[in-house]
Symmetry: C2
């Protein structure tokens, strides 16, 4: 069925595919010049970008957007500058394209090299986070790929402004503008078309809520990298340093609430629950976090005269990514019970144990089957920027191709080069 | 819809998933012992295996199987020994699990490691090639994963015999037999169920004809690694060493005809076509290869009084993987035309240029967008065994996760370990 939307989106994907070879031929210095020029242009045009964002925010406020989502959507001059800085960070990174990943000379003299090559065309489907628009476009450019961006109708004006700035810079550098294409105007139907553009789009990266991810996984004919929701857990073990634990739990929950590596479920070992829970929750109570506590935790908090709002945890709480001033809390009998809880409820994003015991740390690192498994650190470090990737295109919660924060390497492909001198197989 | 097949296949997948942790805990020495014991058991029971294979062959002959497919299906004592040898090769390889892929200490002191972990449960759907059954099971075992195998009804008796031997060895080593499960008995419906077993099966690897691949790609909810058909090309450039070219073309076409890295289209540069074509095709004619030649090539061959059977090439020939004594031949004006032909008709598996010119070689290696791109070597080297992977689970023609021959590394996943000393994000 050829609709006007499918015509438009397929044309966009084809334009991106046709534009990509111009980028594949570009060496690092030229790509970095473009990235730095884009950063300058964003800062220079920050006022227009923030104005466009204000239109999105006004509409979002009218629609009663949740605080966490609003935080993801909002731009000001500082955030635009931070977004521009990420482009400069990307420029400062080595070019992934051309890297020899492995290589050897076989016994028969054949020279074998696995080299990194651009993916081709990357489709990004995400929710209203304008910074993702620029991150994705910048990283794709550095990695030699064109991008087709669908950033959520709530960010339409912001994304249009940002993509407009980036395309102007491409044109000013004699590059095809269609290396970066937005399809926000085509709504959800546009996503459906993009998912079936096999042969035009090489990989589709959905980034957002569980519903979006499920829809893409179920219907996409284009290979998908799933970037799941983050129902992240912190386990405060019996042997945890409590001062550190208080600081890390507050950091994981409060440092930025609307993001996928923010803490969503706190597990506390029974042996220290009575002593630890009042202290762990004090900074959270002060910040207005509502605690969804299991019976044991609620009892301890009540007995300690907590000032926090405590509500009984329901089964649903163990699987909810709040992205808000809400936290699920459970008391666990031991490490086994904590591991079982995580196995049952984790989305495979990030979990952290706070412990002083080497055996507990080892078991947690070995047995938790998540993209990022931590010890004695805040889940907020589960981030491409923090990992030194320069920027991040999402956090993969699948096992195939890329797992955890995805930077430049994760959005490239490879091919094998085999050079002989007349070799035939015996 | 719960049918008896879906109940059976989902139970099999669940059994594999439940069995896998026992394997994940096993260190290299123990896994290698099991692999070597499997190799011994296969050789010891070769007679029964060949007898089971004879039943499959008899049925296949009655159904009029194509020679290339029959060659893939057939086992004798030597081939069983060769299959067993691949298990010993796998045992001799380093354990991929636990490998630190990358690691660093971040500026803030956080220790970061990306480590290789087992994929979990691997589903293999392939066509009647009993050697794949053992390769896949052996490599999966070494890589810490359970396998669910669907090997094509034409190889039912062979696969049942092989899997039976392997499971006996697992049991003898106190390992769950369900680490290796065959679902051949459940036919095509079994494949449909397997494709929807998201959460039980971590990756599905279809290996076979275009129809099978398309069906899996379109319907699978489980992430897929596509192993496509091999419409492989060899380009004889104007500057090619003709003696070498004659040997390589014969090798690529004739060394084994029923496999995906066998030559299917020969491209010859116009400047040398008249001199080269009669020599290139002489060994092919002798072996009984039918040549599907374009007009120019046919004219040259006729003028040279070829003894080969020459038929006019149709449009379809440029896209056909014969897996038989058939070869498409085209004369091209120059490298550009050759690259365009390959771009239009390659399945992205393997292409090779035969040339003495560094610029032609460079352009071919750079611009051909296939999993394996060669110079002056036979396409038959595009193989995990030849690449030193020990054995091979298929040749990926997709860009995501793995591209080209897949060995142990390609069937593992990774996770990130982050160890701090009380780190909170500033």
């Amino acid at each position: 069925m050829e609709t006007s939307v499918s015509t438009a989106v397929l044309s966009a994907a084809r334009a991106a595919k046709d534009a990509q070879p111009a980028l594949a031929r570009l060496h690092r210095a030229a790509k970095d010049r473009v990235l730095r020029a884009m950063a300058e242009a964003l800062v220079a045009q920050a006022e227009q970008i923030v104005a466009a964002n204000a239109r999105d925010l006004a509409a979002a406020d009218e629609a009663g957007i949740a605080p966490g989502l609003r935080d993801r959507l909002a731009l000001d001059a500082d955030r635009v500058a931070a977004i521009a800085e990420q482009l400069r960070d990307a420029a400062a990174l080595p070019d992934p394209v051309g890297e020899v990943i492995r290589g050897s000379v076989l016994d028969n003299g054949l020279e074998l090299r696995e080299v990194r090559v651009p993916m081709g065309v990357i489709g990004m489907v995400y929710e209203a986070r304008p910074n993702v628009t620029v991150d994705a476009a910048g990283l794709a450019l550095k990695a030699g790929s064109a991008v087709v961006l669908r950033g959520g109708s709530a960010a339409l004006h912001s994304n249009t402004a940002l993509i407009g700035v980036l395309r102007e810079v491409l044109a000013a550098h004699d590059l095809p503008e269609d290396l970066i294409i937005g399809i926000d105007a085509h709504g959800r139907e546009g996503v459906d078309v993009l998912m079936r553009a096999r042969g035009l789009v090489d990989v589709l990266i959905p980034r957002g809520g569980a519903g979006l991810i499920r829809r893409v996984v179920e219907h996409s004919l284009v290979p998908v990298i799933e970037t799941g929701t983050g129902k992240t857990h912190v386990l405060v073990d019996a042997s945890a340093d409590l001062d550190q634990a208080v600081e890390i739990v507050a950091n994981a929950k409060l440092q930025r609430i609307g993001v996928c590596n923010a803490l969503e479920t706190l597990l506390v070992h029974r042996d220290v629950a009575e002593q630890a829970l009042p202290r762990l929750t004090a900074p959270l109570a002060e910040a207005g976090v509502r605690l969804h506590a299991d019976e044991t935790a609620a009892g301890i908090l009540a007995a300690a005269g907590t000032t926090a709002e405590v509500v009984p945890a329901t089964e649903e709480d163990w699987d909810t990514e709040y992205l808000a001033l809400e936290l699920a809390i459970a008391v666990v009998d031991d490490l086994d019970q904590a591991l079982a809880h995580i196995r049952a409820h984790s989305t495979g994003h990030t979990e952290s144990i706070l412990t002083s015991d080497v055996r507990s740390q080892q078991r947690f690192l070995d047995e938790v089957d998540s993209a990022v498994v931590m010890a004695n650190a805040s889940t907020r470090f589960s981030d491409g920027g923090e990992f030194g990737f320069g920027a991040e295109i999402g956090i993969s919660t699948q096992k195939l191709h890329a797992r955890g924060p995805m930077g430049l390497q994760e959005i490239t492909a490879s091919k094998w080069l085999v050079v002989g001198q007349g070799h035939a197989r015996p």
